[in-house]
Amino acid sequence: MSGVRTRRAALAIATAAAVGLLATGCSPAASNGSGGSSSSKVTINWYVQPLNSTSIWPDLVAAFNKSHPNIEVTLTVGPTNVDTVRGTLSTQLGSGSATPDVYEGDITWPAQFAKAGLAVNLTKLFPKSFWDRFSPGAITLAQYKGSSYSVPSWTEAAFLYYRKDLLTKAGLPVPSTWEELVADAKKVQATGAVKDGYTWQGAGYEGLTCDFSELVADAGGGIVSSDYTKGTLDSAAGQKALAFLKETIASGVSPKATPTFQEPQSLNDFTAGNALFMRNWSYAWAITQDPKQSKVVGKVGMAPLPSFAGQPTPGASTNGGGGMFINPHSKYLKQDVTFLTWLTGTEAQGMFASVGKVLPANVQAQTPQAQKDVGPVGQVLAKLKIVGRPVGTPAYSQVSRALFQNVNAALSGNASVSGALSSADSQITTALSSSR
């Protein structure tokens, strides 16, 4: 026996194994693993992301299982990082796994998952009347090429948080334009009451895309052309937005470290009592009111985000939140539909507000009681001008990355305003053209 022959044998084994893998990779899964074939009871697996410190997911599962003796939902909770979730889910679903049957996904996923064959076309599965329970805007965001791929479950939006106490003391109203916000911030900073005027999310990640798309919309522009063929950032609106954000840092209104800020850092600055204003999502409310985590309990107000002077108010707010998708390889589509119909019904949606402290996606469940359950978020939400991100393209992740990397480079002083925007545009255009 020679070394050469051993190597050849090893290679043959490896090739055989690889071919075997390919074959299984192409066909849908044969095994499911979940039992219950003998009786009529069916087990479906539900994959969600951690929402917050409440017990919303297990509570929902318990309530469903109690009222549905023939279906048992089991819960799998994934990691907090949304991209890690996307990676593991695409591995599982893409390999033809029958579980999870139903999974929670980000608001930016429908087009991408539809194109990649990772989600079921729901328009065919649900009766037309089912969709009446959601706002038209939420339905549009979950569609790709005219079909729905995700069932909206709870919503989230961006707000302006402000220090009630300090604005009252300075005799200032809540600002409705960005120019007022900067002027107010400088005034209060000059008194020494706070170190920072306005704190937001400037790190190179998805959150910057949200912050920036709001300002571009306020200035009358957009990120991509309406037919999704090219980037439109290097425009008067884009330049105005970026110049404004740069100026907040340069003038000392926003902390110097803003280009490294994600939500936790900006929230931390605000709850430590260092900042007058903050842009953040609705989840932040509960934390600003928790005495264990916040020094500004009872001193915080919420309002719609401002707009630029001369533009209609309020300014644009990005929305977020979770939607439920169905695995194309799920063996129990009927039960999946039953579960999702229940999950978006008024009983479960009420639990999202009362237990989970987030706003339900079902408009019928957005009752005064629900608004009370989630705090001032509920009252302000109705006044917001929601502007979605350009999620209609399967290449959204590349569009967003082109935006946040270039804008972050400009914010941290490593690129010029127009250089960053034109570079972002060309990357966006390339991404859009390759995804068609």
Binding site: M1, G3, T6, A10, L11, I13, A14, T15, A17, A18, L21, L22, G25, C26, S27, P28, D83, T84, R86, G87, S90, G94, G96, Q112, K115, A116, G117, L118, A203, G204, Y205, P255, K256, A257, P259, T260, Q265, N268, D269, A272, N274, H329, A395, S397, Q398, R401, Q405, N406, N408, A409, L411, S412, G413, N414, A415, S434
Partner: protein, 317 residues
């Protein structure tokens, strides 16, 4: 003769039994196959198939069909797209520069630490255990610990810089390319110098201490002993440390992922992050596989060249 000693540098000293003793050599050879086979079989079965599969993927356009995925061969299109993108070249540049700088720093300091531990008379085990703490820390957590330390608002790093009068007021270390690079280097070195030291310590332990004493009697200084005795004798361990550190550094992912997310801009975006983005964010499987294969190819070229270079340098004996 020359061929034997040249081979020795990578394979080690000449085999126990010289080729002349043909029966013994045959037994020895058979033993070699027998002893190596189980390990090689496990490695081959578990790793070769996936690697072959991903090379195949890199040549495919992966699209979704009614019954799962459809793999259609597209030749080198993914490679052409990757090599034509500016992002790949900036990631490759960052990764290469980072690898050279970090491995140099870590191997030099790691050798120093290993020599110190090797010379300790008491408490070696305790110090070894302390050293292993950074290496043992879950990488994502050490990324989070350092992002907490380098935080631009309440970070300990800024506090210390201000207290020590290095800077007048807190600076934002992570928002300029050089600062971000240095922060990565510090966090990474903290974690990997112990790894290097441990491997080199393993080598130093096998060096006969009497050699040092003899050299000192001959009047050799510290640096001479280091260059003439220590380094040549732990050469195999040094090669192992350098090679594996280069592999790890070239694949650096967790630290920039947590600490800088590739920023500012894309100044610290590594090759592995590029592959992660393509695979996990863009679900662009063929493209992501191509980037991974390019990364692997670069490192393989390095490994082969490096090992060859060391083989050639070996004096005849």
């Amino acid at each position: 003769m020359t061929s034997t000693s040249a081979r020795a540098s990578i394979v080690g000293p000449p085999a126990l039994f010289p080729p002349r003793a043909s029966r013994r050599a045959r037994i020895s050879r058979r033993r070699g196959y027998l002893l190596t086979a189980p390990a090689l079989l496990v490695v081959a079965l578990v790793t070769l198939a996936p690697i072959a599969f991903s090379v195949y993927l890199s040549l495919c356009a992966v699209t979704a069909g009614a019954d799962g995925f459809d793999y259609s061969l597209v030749g080198l299109r993914n490679y052409a797209a990757a090599l034509g993108s500016q992002a790949l070249w900036s990631a490759l540049t960052f990764t290469a520069v980072y690898t050279v700088v970090s491995v140099t720093v870590q191997v030099v300091l790691g050798l120093g630490v290993a020599i110190i531990i090797d010379r300790m008379t008491r408490g070696t085990g305790v110090v070894l255990a302390l050293l292993l703490v950074p290496w043992a820390m879950i990488t994502v957590v050490s990324g989070q610990l350092w992002s907490y330390i380098f935080n631009g608002v309440y970070g300990l790093a800024d506090y210390l810089l201000v207290v020590l009068h290095v800077v007048p007021a807190p600076v934002t270390i992570l928002s300029n390319p050089v600062g971000a690079f240095v922060a990565l280097l510090v966090a990474d070195s903290w974690k990997t110098i112990p790894f290097v030291s441990l491997i080199l310590f393993g080598g130093l332990r096998t060096v006969d201490k009497e050699l040092y004493a003899a050299a000192r009697l001959d009047g050799a200084g510290g640096w001479t002993i280091l260059g003439r005795i220590t380094i040549p004798l732990i050469r195999q361990s040094l090669i192992t440390a350098v090679v594996f550190r280069v592999l790890q550094a070239f694949g650096i992912f967790d630290l920039p992922f947590v600490l800088t997310n590739g920023g500012p801009g894309n100044a610290t975006q590594s090759m592995a992050m590029l592959a992660y983005n393509a695979l996990f964010q863009d679900l662009n499987i063929g493209y992501g596989a191509a980037i991974s294969c390019i990364t692997a190819a670069v490192v393989i070229v390095f490994a082969v060249v490096f090992l060859r270079a060391f083989k050639v340098e070996e004096p005849g004996g």
